[in-house]
């Protein structure tokens, strides 16, 4: 246990001074494993090589690059404009209608891009100018986009869920099923948050233009292809027609066809998209190599068992342990950005959660935890001082201060904490669809 504590301190120091996270994880993992194994560095080198190869050349893990590629194609196809246009036609006339439209469009983008910062960046370009035209408060507009963007990593297909699935060896299709209902609930919670803000500060979010029902119906023609693609992929995965990887391949191919049909794709954009997706893939996998090796160190050091014994001695109930871990996550999320948090904490906390006597079926426990973890990661995207979405929006809206954006986020942050509590206290909500389709 003392080895692990030293390892974690070394890891924080290495990563903290700017050494790439994946290399920090790999260095600490190899060193820790070597110190705990009778064959020392020889064994560590063999295991590390196996781990890298098993991750990098395993067809099951092709799911991540394929969904990333789909996200890149969708973002380049300019569908965000249409999503926002449709949402504003349906919701714009309500009080705070354009903010509601932003959240709804973010949910729609999330369903196909799986990316949080891309959703926030795209929506900033599309939604903020429209909200400014209708005299929306800048802080509220920016806060809405920042918070709306976070939904991107919960609604499937989600990069964060795929990474969690790879690291914890959990069924990715079931994670996708489990993410759908909480994703929709997240949108609903944000809608409630917007309505509450509109009641308290009506001048922040006036009504938009009215549209006829016919105009509303006609607007749907611009997004039918993307909706069909989402239904095809998720339907295929949920019904067991495709594996998750095949869903990713069909999704990426479908997104490419849609981008071509919409005349948003040329050879340059196509090659750029491929290169961008490949680079993203390599970035994530290089951290994955290190995380898997750290996992080996954590296991050989017997840490999960010792942590459980330690917790047992403290006398905490299983739910008490979950609460302590969540508090750690929320605090960690304020200083470390979301993806790094997943890589750092999955090897340590997943075995602990797996060992807790929670009233959830053993095969669904880690599915539930995956969703809880991704929800906390979502929160970390908008919490100071390191809120990645906030930084993205700040870079695109230089005239809006960070303080203003954080002020605009407060209502959404409260909504986030409320839904996190809901998903923790009622695991049945998260697992409903998984159980129904099982």
């Amino acid at each position: 246990m003392i080895d692990l504590a030293i390892g974690i301190v070394a890891l924080l120091l290495l990563a903290g001074v700017g050494f790439p996270l994946g290399f920090s994880l790999l260095t600490v993992g190899v060193a820790g494993f070597a110190l705990n194994h009778p064959r020392g560095l020889d064994a560590a080198a063999t295991v590390a090589g196996q781990q890298i190869l098993e991750l990098a050349a395993n067809f099951q893990f092709a799911v991540l690059p394929l969904f990333m590629l789909m996200g890149v194609f969708v973002t380049k196809s300019g569908i965000a404009d249409n999503m926002y246009d449709v949402a504003s036609k349906w919701l714009g006339q309500l009080r705070g209608g354009l903010a509601l439209s932003t959240v709804a469009a973010c949910g729609g983008m999330a369903a196909i891009s799986g990316s949080s910062m891309a959703t926030a960046a795209t929506m900033t370009k599309v939604a903020v100018p429209a909200m400014r035209r209708y005299n929306y408060d800048d802080a509220f507009s920016a806060g809405t986009v920042a918070a709306g963007g976070t939904i991107g990593i919960l609604i499937p297909p989600s990069g964060a869920l795929i990474i969690y699935g790879l690291l914890s060896e959990t069924d990715i299709a079931k994670l996708f099923m489990a993410g759908l209902v909480p994703g929709v609930i997240s949108v609903l919670f944000y809608i409630v948050a917007i309505q509450v803000v509109c009641i308290i500060k009506p001048e922040w979010a006036p009504r938009g233009d009215r549209t006829t029902f016919l105009q509303k119906l006609i607007s749907l023609k611009d997004i039918w292809s993307i909706a069909a693609l989402f239904l095809l992929i998720m339907g295929g995965i949920f019904m067991g027609v495709f594996t998750a990887s095949e869903g990713g391949g069909v999704g990426a191919g479908g997104a490419l066809l849609i981008a071509i049909m919409r005349r948003r794709m040329n050879l340059n954009i196509f090659v750029e998209s491929l290169a961008e997706a490949a680079k993203l893939t390599a970035t994530v996998f290089s951290v994955g190599f290190g995380a898997l090796m750290l996992n080996q160190f954590v296991n050989i050091a017997g840490a999960p068992q010792e942590i459980l014994i330690f917790i047992d001695q403290l006398g905490f109930s299983p739910w008490g342990v979950v609460a302590v871990i969540l508090v750690c996550f929320v605090i960690l999320g304020t200083i470390i950005d979301g993806p790094a948090m997943i890589f750092l904490t999955v090897p340590i906390f997943v075995p602990v959660i797996d060992g807790l006597a929670l009233p959830i079926e053993p095969d669904l426990k880690l599915i539930w935890w995956g969703i809880i973890m991704v929800v906390t990661v979502e929160i970390s995207f908008i919490t100071p001082p390191i809120g990645m979405n906030v930084f993205v929006i700040k870079s695109m809206l230089p005239d809006v201060s960070l303080g203003q954006i954080y002020r605009g986020i407060i209502a959404f942050f409260i909504a986030d904490l409320a839904r996190l509590a809901l998903f923790v206290c009622f695991p049945g909500i998260v697992l409903w669809l998984v159980r129904a389709l099982a």
């Binding site: 590390a48 991107g152 490949a278």
Partner: protein, 170 residues
């Protein structure tokens, strides 16, 4: 001399970038076509899994050098702020990090070489087509070492002046 090295390394990294792009495209096309063949033509493509595994590896190991070269690896940088007040110290920190990156990259190349020799000794084959895997793993090792070499050139040129682009979009 340094300039010609830089030009050469830029060209090489561009070639790797295109190979990575081709790799991920081939991966997508393979999966797309295999689903089409299986469900529409009722005739599955043989060894899809083997090809997917190899293409995934090629995509990753040709893209990693570019991630390293552009210093785009995910980083946390919790304790970096104090260094900014002391430019010389900050430069030393960056140079040390670059040195560490070079060492770890070459170590990863060595790990892949070890795996390749094990696969050669044990005659490890792919699942379906029973292809020898050691040439593929050796290629991965070579790609990692090339990436390490290119980054070493970049690090030598920067000598602690290179900026990190932390973070990733999920």
């Amino acid at each position: 001399m340094t300039e010609s090295f830089t030009k050469w390394s830029t060209r090489f990294s561009l070639v790797l970038r295109y190979i990575a792009a081709a790799g991920i495209f081939a991966l997508m096309a393979l999966v797309f076509v295999s689903v089409f063949f299986r469900y529409v033509l009722n005739s599955p493509i043989l060894a899809t899994e083997d090809m997917m595994a190899i293409l995934l590896g090629i995509t990753i190991f040709t893209a990693v050098p570019n991630v390293t070269l552009t210093r785009s690896h995910i980083s946390v940088e919790l304790f970096v702020a104090p260094f900014r007040h002391f430019p010389a110290l900050d430069r030393a920190r960056r140079a040390l990090i670059d040195l560490g990156v070079i060492c770890v990259t070459f170590f990863m190349g060595y790990l892949m070489y070890l795996q390749a020799t094990r696969q050669f000794d044990r005659e490890t084959e792919s699942f379906v087509m029973e292809w020898d895997l050691w040439p593929v793993t050796t290629a991965f090792a070579v790609l990692i070492v090339i990436g390490g070499g290119l980054f070493a050139l970049r690090a030598f040129k920067d000598r602690g002046d290179g900026e990190t682009k932390a973070g990733i979009d999920l």
